[in-house]
C-alpha cells in the first residue's frame, strides 16, 4: 500500500476523531430537552412545522403511541413513494421519460427507501423520474434517517428516565432531527460536492458527440443534493445505477473521502451523544470504542485481501491488487475502505463492485452486515443495535460480579430479555429462512448468475443486505422478479420495523424502571474491558449464527483459490 493510502485512512480517522465528538455534543443538546444552539434560527422553523401538522410540542408519548406514530408515518411514506413510482410516467419533471413502475417494483422501492435500506431493483437513470427522485426518494433519505435517530434517542431516554411511562414524542424527534441535524449538514455537504463536480440540474439526457465520433447520452439530475443526504443519512440509494462509482456522484478522490466520512459521521457521533445524554461520557466512549474496533478490524481484513489480490488472476500475469470491478480513480485500498464503511453503516452506497471483491474481502463486507449493522451502523439503528447488544453483554457477563445484571442502573429482567431475544432472532430468521428457501427453490435459484460458493454468497448477501437495511448489492442475481421484490421487501420491513417496535418496547420497559445508583459493586460498563467484552459478544453470539453459511460461502471460496 502506498503512503497516500495510509494517509487516507489516517486522515479519515482524524476527521472522525474531531467531528464525531463535536457533533455528538451538539446532538446531545438537540435531544437533551434544554436550550440548544441555533434555537433562534431553528425554533421558528420547527414551530411552523408543529403548527402546520397540529403537533403538541410538549406532549409526551408512551412507547406504544410512539411506535404507533412511527408506523403510521412510515406507512404513509411507503404509500407516497409507491404512488410516485406507479404514476411517474404521467407526472411532470420527467425529462428522461422514465416509465411508471410495476406494482412489485414500486412496492419494493417504496419499502426500500422508507426502511433506509435503499436496495435498488431499478436503474436510477431510466427507472425514476426527477419528480420521484426529488419528492419521493430524496425526501425519504431525510425522513428514514430521522426516524432511525428518533428511535435511538427514545431508547436512550428509556435508559435515563426513571419510573416514567413516556419516552418522548416521535413527531418532535422527527422534526428536530430533520431541521437541526440533517438539513444543515446536508446543505453544506451538497455545496462542497457540487464544488468538486457533482452535478445539480433538472436536465434529462444530453447527447454528446465524442472525439472518437460516437454519440453518448449523458444523464442530468439533482445529484449533489441527493448525494449528500445519501451518505449522511446512511441511505445509499444512488441517483445513478453506478452509485458512487459514477463520476457525477463521486467526482474526485476528495469527494470519495468526504463521502466515507459523511456516512460514518452520524452513527459514530450518536455514541458520543449517548454518553452525554446518560450523563457519563465514558459510557459513550465505550460504545464508540466497540464500534470503532469492529470497523477498523474489518477495514484491515478487506484492505489486506483486496491489496493482496487474487492469486489465480496473478498466476496469469495480472500482478498487483484486485482491481476487478474497481474504479481506477480510487484503486483497491480506497475502494475497500469505502466498501467496509458502507456495509458497516447500513448505507449501501458503493464505489466498486462488491461482487468482484476477493472471497474474504467480500466475506468481510457480508460479515459486517451480519453483525446487525452496529459498527457503527445506520443513523440511529447503529446506536440502538449496539445498545441492545450492550444490554445482552451485561446480562451474560454481568452476573459474574455478583449482582443481577443492570445497565446504567436499569435491572435487566425477564421482559427485557424477551424483547432482546426476539431482536436477536428476527433478523437471522429472515435472512437464513428466505436465503435458504431461495437457494433450494428452483425458480429463485435460477436467478443466480453464478453457482457454487460464490453463488451462495450472492444469495445470502442479498437477504443480509436487505434485512439489515443496508441496501448494497453483491449483484449476480436478477432480482427484479416477483419472488425477490416481495421477499426482499419482507426482509427490509422486518429488519426495520419489527426491530424498531422491539427497541421501543424495550425503551418503554426500561423507562418504567427504577434506577439503581452506581457503586463499587456495579458492573462497570464505561471501561475498555467492557468495550472488548461487547465486541466479543457481538462476534461470538451474533456472527456464530452465520458461521456455517460463511464457511460454505466466502471461506470455502477463499480456500478453493
Amino acid at each position: 500500500m502506498s503512503w497516500q493510502n495510509w494517509a487516507q485512512i489516517g486522515v479519515l480517522i482524524g476527521l472522525i476523531g474531531v467531528s464525531a465528538p463535536l457533533l455528538g455534543a451538539y446532538l446531545a443538546r438537540v435531544f437533551g430537552g434544554g436550550a440548544a444552539p441555533g434555537d433562534r434560527i431553528f425554533g421558528p422553523l420547527e414551530r411552523l412545522c408543529y403548527r402546520a401538522a397540529g403537533i403538541d410540542e410538549h406532549g409526551e408519548q408512551t412507547w406504544r403511541v410512539y411506535a404507533g406514530s412511527l408506523l403510521i408515518f412510515s406507512g404513509i411514506s411507503v404509500a407516497a413513494v409507491y404512488l410516485l413510482m406507479r404514476l411517474q410516467g404521467s407526472l411532470p419533471f420527467n425529462p428522461s421519460h422514465a416509465v411508471s413502475a410495476g406494482p412489485a417494483l414500486a412496492f419494493n422501492t417504496a419499502v426500500s427507501f422508507v426502511t433506509n435500506t435503499n436496495w435498488q431493483n431499478y436503474a436510477g437513470e431510466t427507472g425514476a423520474s426527477h419528480l420521484t427522485q426529488m419528492a419521493g426518494l430524496a425526501v425519504q433519505n431525510f425522513l428514514s434517517a430521522a426516524v432511525g435517530i428518533a428511535v435511538a434517542i427514545a431508547l436512550v431516554r428509556g435508559l435515563t428516565r426513571r419510573k416514567s411511562d413516556t419516552i418522548g414524542n416521535f413527531w418532535v424527534d422527527l422534526v428536530r432531527t430533520t431541521v437541526r441535524v440533517l438539513l444543515p449538514i446536508a446543505i453544506v455537504l451538497a455545496i462542497v460536492l457540487a464544488s468538486q463536480g457533482a452535478i445539480q440540474n433538472l436536465h434529462g439526457f444530453t447527447d454528446a458527440h465524442t472525439v472518437a465520433g460516437a454519440t453518448q447520452s449523458i444523464p442530468g439530475g439533482q445529484v449533489a443534493s441527493q448525494e449528500a443526504i445519501k451518505e449522511l443519512g446512511t441511505n445509499g440509494g444512488g441517483f445513478y445505477n453506478a452509485n458512487s462509482a459514477h463520476p457525477f456522484e463521486n467526482p474526485t478522490a476528495l469527494t470519495n473521502l468526504l463521502e466515507i466520512w459523511a456516512l460514518l459521521l452520524i452513527p459514530f457521533s450518536l455514541a458520543f451523544a449517548f454518553g452525554r445524554l446518560v450523563g457519563n461520557r465514558r459510557q459513550g466512549w465505550a460504545i464508540f470504542a466497540a464500534m470503532f474496533f469492529l470497523w477498523i478490524g474489518s477495514v484491515g481484513v478487506a484492505t489486506h485481501y483486496e491489496v493482496a489480490g487474487n492469486p489465480r488472476v496473478q498466476a496469469i500475469g495480472a500482478v498487483g491488487s484486485n482491481m476487478e470491478g474497481k474504479e481506477v480513480r480510487f484503486g483497491a485500498p480506497a475502494s475497500a475502505l469505502f466498501a467496509v464503511s458502507t456495509t458497516d453503516t447500513s448505507t449501501g452506497a458503493v464505489d466498486s463492485a462488491h461482487d468482484s471483491f476477493t472471497p474474504l474481502g467480500g466475506g468481510a463486507l457480508l460479515a459486517n452486515m451480519m453483525l446487525g449493522e452496529v459498527s457503527p451502523g445506520g443513523t440511529g439503528s447503529g446506536l440502538y443495535g449496539m445498545l441492545v447488544f450492550a444490554i445482552l453483554t451485561v446480562f451474560i457477563a454481568g452476573l459474574m460480579v455478583g449482582r443481577t445484571p443492570e445497565y446504567l442502573g436499569k435491572k435487566v429482567q425477564a421482559l427485557e430479555m424477551k424483547l432482546i431475544v426476539l431482536y436477536l432472532l428476527a433478523v437471522p430468521l429472515v435472512i437464513l429462512g428466505l436465503a435458504g428457501a431461495s437457494v433450494v427453490l428452483p425458480g429463485p435459484r435460477s436467478a443466480l448468475l453464478n453457482h457454487g460458493s460464490h453463488g451462495l454468497t450472492e444469495m445470502v448477501y442479498a437477504f443480509t443486505s436487505s434485512a439489515n437495511n443496508n441496501g448494497s448489492a453483491f449483484a449476480g442475481i436478477g432480482a427484479n422478479t416477483t419472488w425477490f421484490n416481495t421477499t426482499l421487501a419482507i426482509a427490509m420491513l422486518a429488519g426495520r420495523f419489527l426491530l424498531m417496535i422491539l427497541v421501543l418496547a424495550l425503551a418503554g420497559a426500561l423507562a418504567r424502571k427504577q434506577t439503581v445508583p452506581e457503586s463499587a459493586g456495579t458492573f462497570p460498563t464505561a471501561t475498555p474491558l467492557f468495550a472488548g467484552l461487547l465486541v466479543a459478544v457481538v462476534v461470538v453470539v451474533v456472527l456464530l449464527t452465520y458461521a456455517p453459511v460463511l464457511a460454505l460461502g466466502p471461506i470455502l471460496e477463499h480456500l478453493s483459490l
Binding site: L399, M417, V541
Partner: protein, 663 residues
C-alpha cells in the same frame, strides 16, 4: 460433598427425570432429549457404530444434566429426612375456655388454641408463649445443643413445633396449623419441593431458550445451504451440531446452582423462604445492622452512677434501681445488678406501685410509688420531662451525659418527681474484626448503616470505632422504616436483621429481612429469611452467599457460550471436508476423522457437565473486591478459559476415540 447414598439415589432420579413432562421445564435440555430420541430412532433403523455412539452420548448429556439437579436435591433431601423425624405426632394438652385440660393429637390443633407444655414434652405446634418461662431445646432445627429461654411477652416468645421444653411449664397459643408450621416449611424448602424459579433465573432461561432457538434456526437452515452446495448432511450430524451449539452446560447446571445456593444457606443455619430473597441478597447495596448483637457484643451494661452535685451516688443508684424494676431489657437489669453490687441494694417489694414500662415512643421507663415518680431514660426524654414539670435542666446533667457519650458510652438520665438526679453510664463492647469486614463490604459497593436507639454522639463514637459507613441514631421503628423507604426510593436494595415485633414492618419492607429465630413470631413471619442461630452478623455471610450464587450462574453462562467457538471448528470441517477437502484447513485441532471429530465434540459437551457439577454445587470462589476486579478475574477464568478449554478437551477426546476406535 458426594455421599455415596445420595449419589445412588441421584442416579436413579436422573433416569426418572427423563420424563418429558419434567424435561419441558428446561428448554435447552428438552431439545437435547428430543435430539436423543431422534438419533436413537435413526440408530435403530439404520444401525452404525457412529449413530449409536452419538445416540449414547446424547442420552448421557441429558442424564448428566438430570444428575446435577438430582445431586443438589439429594443433599437437601437428606437434611429434610432428619427434620421429618422430629415432626412425629405428639399429644397436646389443650386448655379449654373453662381452664380444663384435654389431651388431643397435635394434628387436630386449631389456630389460637392454648396448649400447656411441661418439662420434658415436645411443643406440639408453632406458637407464641402467652404464660410462663421455660428453657427449650431447639437442637432439632438449629443443631445447637445449648437450650434457649422462651418466655411470655418481650421478643423471645416464639416457639417452634417439634422442639422440646427442658424445664418449667409454658402455655402456648397456636399460631400455625399442622402442615403449615415452620418445620413443615423448612422441610419443604430444603427438599426443594417449593422451589420456584427466581426472577434472574427466569430471565436467564429466556436467554438460553432464545439462544437455543437461534442455533436451531442456524442448524435447520444449514441443510438447504448444504443441499445447494452438494453436501447434504445426515440428521445425526445436524442434531450433534445443534446439541453442541446450544448452551447445554449452563442449561444443565442452572437449577443445580440455584438449589445448591439455598443449600449453602441452610448449612449456615439460615432458611430462605424464597430463592428471590437469596438473589436480592447479592444485589443489596445497604445493610442495616442493629448495633446490639451485631456490632457490639451482647448488650450494654451499666458501669457507673454519675450523680449531680448535691446527690449522693447511693441515692442515684437507689432511684435508678427502682426505675429499672419495670424495665425488662438487659440494660434495665444491668442497672439493678450494678446497684446490688455497689451498694448491696436488694430488690424492693413494691406494694401499691404503678410500673411504667419502656416504650419506643416515650423512651423512658419508671415507677410511681407512694407519691414518688421516678423515671429513667434517654437524656433528651428526661430533660423534656423535667421541663414539662416546670423544672430546669442543670448544665451539669448535659455535661455528664456529653462526657459519657463522647467515650462511646450511653448515658441514661434519672429523675425523681421531675428533679434530675444524675446519669447512669452504659457501655458497649464492639466486636473484633468487624472493621475489616465492613471494609470488604465497602469494596463490594455495599454500605453499612448502624441502627441504634442511642443518641447521635454515642452512636457516632461506636460507629467510628466499628467502621460502619453511616448510622441512624435515636432510631424509632418508624425511623428505620423511613430509612428503608428512602434507600429503596433511591434505587437501593436494603437488607436488615430484626427480632422484635416492632421490627416486623421494617423486615417486611426490606428486600432481605433476616429474622432471628429467637425473635417473635411476628418478626419471623415478616422476614424472608430466618437465622436459626440468631446471629445478626450472619447478614454479611448471607450477602456473600447471594453474590456467590449469581457469580456461579454468570461464570457458567459465559463458559457455556464461549465453548461454541471450538465446537464450530470441530464440526464444520467434519461436515463438509468430505465434499470440500479445502475446508479441512479449518480443522485446526487436526482431529482424526469427521466421525471422531463430531463424536469428540458431543462427548466433550457431555463430560464438561459432569466436570462442572462440583463447581456448580460448591459455587465459584467469591472474593470481596470491586466489581471490576472480580469481573476481570472471572472473565479470564471462565471467558478465556471457556474459549480455550474445549479446544484442548476435544483434541484429547479425539485422540482417545480414534485410538480405541469407538466411532
Amino acid at each position: 460433598m458426594f455421599d455415596p447414598a445420595i449419589l445412588r439415589q441421584a442416579a436413579l432420579d436422573s433416569v426418572r427425570k427423563l420424563d418429558p413432562r419434567l424435561m419441558a421445564g428446561n428448554p435447552v435440555m428438552f431439545v437435547v432429549e428430543i435430539g436423543s430420541v431422534l438419533v436413537t430412532a435413526i440408530a435403530i433403523k439404520d444401525p452404525s457404530r457412529f449413530a449409536w455412539t452419538i445416540a449414547a452420548w446424547l442420552w448421557f448429556t441429558t442424564l448428566f444434566a438430570n444428575l446435577a439437579e438430582a445431586i443438589a436435591e439429594g443433599r437437601g433431601k437428606a437434611q429434610a429426612a432428619e427434620l421429618k423425624k422430629t415432626r412425629a405426632v405428639t399429644i397436646a394438652h389443650r386448655r379449654g375456655v373453662d381452664g380444663t385440660l384435654e389431651d388431643v393429637a397435635s394434628g387436630v390443633l386449631l389456630m389460637d388454641d392454648l396448649v400447656v407444655v411441661q418439662a420434658g414434652e415436645v411443643i406440639p405446634a408453632d406458637g407464641e408463649v402467652v404464660e410462663g418461662i421455660a428453657s427449650v431445646d431447639e437442637s432439632a432445627i438449629t443443631g445447637e445443643s445449648a437450650p434457649v429461654i422462651r418466655e411470655s411477652g418481650g421478643d423471645r416468645s416464639a416457639v417452634t413445633g417439634g422442639t422440646r421444653v427442658l424445664s418449667d411449664e409454658i402455655v402456648v397459643r397456636v399460631t400455625a396449623l399442622p402442615g403449615a408450621s415452620f418445620l413443615d416449611r423448612m422441610i419443604a424448602l430444603v427438599e426443594g419441593a417449593e422451589r420456584q424459579k427466581t426472577p434472574n433465573e427466569i430471565a436467564l432461561n429466556i436467554l438460553l431458550a432464545g439462544l437455543t432457538l437461534v442455533f436451531l434456526l442456524a442448524v435447520v437452515t444449514l441443510q438447504p445451504f448444504a443441499v445447494y452446495s452438494g453436501a447434504r448432511q445426515s440428521t445425526i450430524v445436524l442434531v450433534a451440531l445443534l446439541v453442541c451449539l446450544i448452551p447445554t452446560t449452563i442449561g444443565a447446571l442452572l437449577s443445580a446452582i440455584g438449589i445448591a445456593g439455598m443449600d449453602r444457606l441452610v448449612r449456615r443455619n439460615v432458611l430462605a423462604m424464597s430463592g428471590r430473597a437469596v438473589e436480592a441478597a447479592g444485589d443489596c447495596a445497604v445493610l442495616l445492622l442493629d448495633k446490639t448483637g451485631t456490632i457490639t457484643l451482647g448488650n450494654r451494661a451499666a458501669t457507673a452512677f454519675l450523680p449531680l452535685d448535691g446527690v449522693s451516688e447511693q441515692e442515684l443508684a437507689e432511684a435508678a434501681q427502682l426505675a429499672s424494676l419495670a424495665d425488662e431489657t438487659p440494660e434495665g437489669r444491668s442497672i439493678v445488678v450494678l446497684a446490688k453490687e455497689r451498694f448491696e441494694l436488694r430488690e424492693h417489694e413494691l406494694h401499691g406501685s404503678h410500673l411504667v414500662p419502656f416504650t419506643a415512643q416515650t423512651r423512658m421507663s419508671g415507677v410511681d410509688l407512694e407519691g414518688l415518680s421516678i423515671r429513667k431514660g434517654a437524656v433528651e426524654a428526661i430533660c423534656q420531662l423535667v421541663e414539662e414539670k416546670g423544672g430546669s435542666v442543670p448544665k451539669q446533667l448535659v455535661e455528664l451525659a456529653g462526657e459519657v457519650a463522647q467515650t462511646g458510652g450511653t448515658p441514661l438520665a434519672v429523675s425523681e418527681n421531675g428533679r434530675p438526679l444524675g446519669i447512669v453510664q452504659l457501655k458497649d463492647i464492639v466486636k473484633e474484626g468487624l472493621a475489616e469486614r465492613f471494609e470488604h463490604l465497602r469494596r463490594m459497593g455495599i454500605r453499612t448503616v448502624m441502627i441504634t436507639g442511642d443518641n447521635p454522639l454515642t452512636a457516632g463514637a461506636i460507629a467510628f470505632e466499628a467502621g460502619v459507613d453511616d448510622f441512624l441514631a435515636e432510631a424509632k421503628p418508624e425511623d428505620k422504616m423511613a430509612l428503608i423507604r428512602r434507600e429503596q426510593a433511591g434505587g437501593n436494595l436494603v437488607a436488615m436483621t430484626g427480632d422484635g415485633t416492632n421490627d416486623a414492618p421494617a423486615l417486611a419492607q426490606a428486600d432481605v429481612g433476616v429474622a432471628m429465630n429467637t425473635g417473635t413470631q411476628a418478626a419471623r413471619e415478616a422476614g424472608n429469611m430466618v437465622d436459626l442461630d440468631s446471629n445478626p452478623t450472619k447478614l454479611i455471610e448471607i450477602v456473600e452467599i447471594g453474590k456467590q450464587l449469581l457469580v456461579t450462574r454468570g461464570a457458567l453462562t459465559t463458559f457455556s457460550i464461549a465453548n461454541d467457538v471450538a465446537k464450530y471448528f470441530a464440526i464444520i470441517p467434519a461436515m463438509f471436508a468430505g465434499v470440500f477437502p479445502e475446508l479441512g484447513h479449518l480443522n485446526v485441532m487436526h482431529l482424526a476423522s469427521p466421525e471422531s471429530a463430531i463424536a469428540s465434540a458431543v462427548i466433550f459437551n457431555a463430560l464438561i457437565i459432569v466436570a462442572l457439577i462440583p463447581l456448580a454445587l460448591r459455587g465459584v470462589r467469591f472474593r470481596a473486591a470491586s466489581a471490576l476486579a472480580v469481573l476481570r478475574r472471572n472473565l479470564l477464568i471462565y471467558g478465556l478459559g471457556g474459549l480455550i478449554a474445549p479446544f484442548i478437551g476435544i483434541k484429547l477426546i479425539d485422540l482417545l476415540v480414534s485410538a480405541i476406535g469407538i466411532s
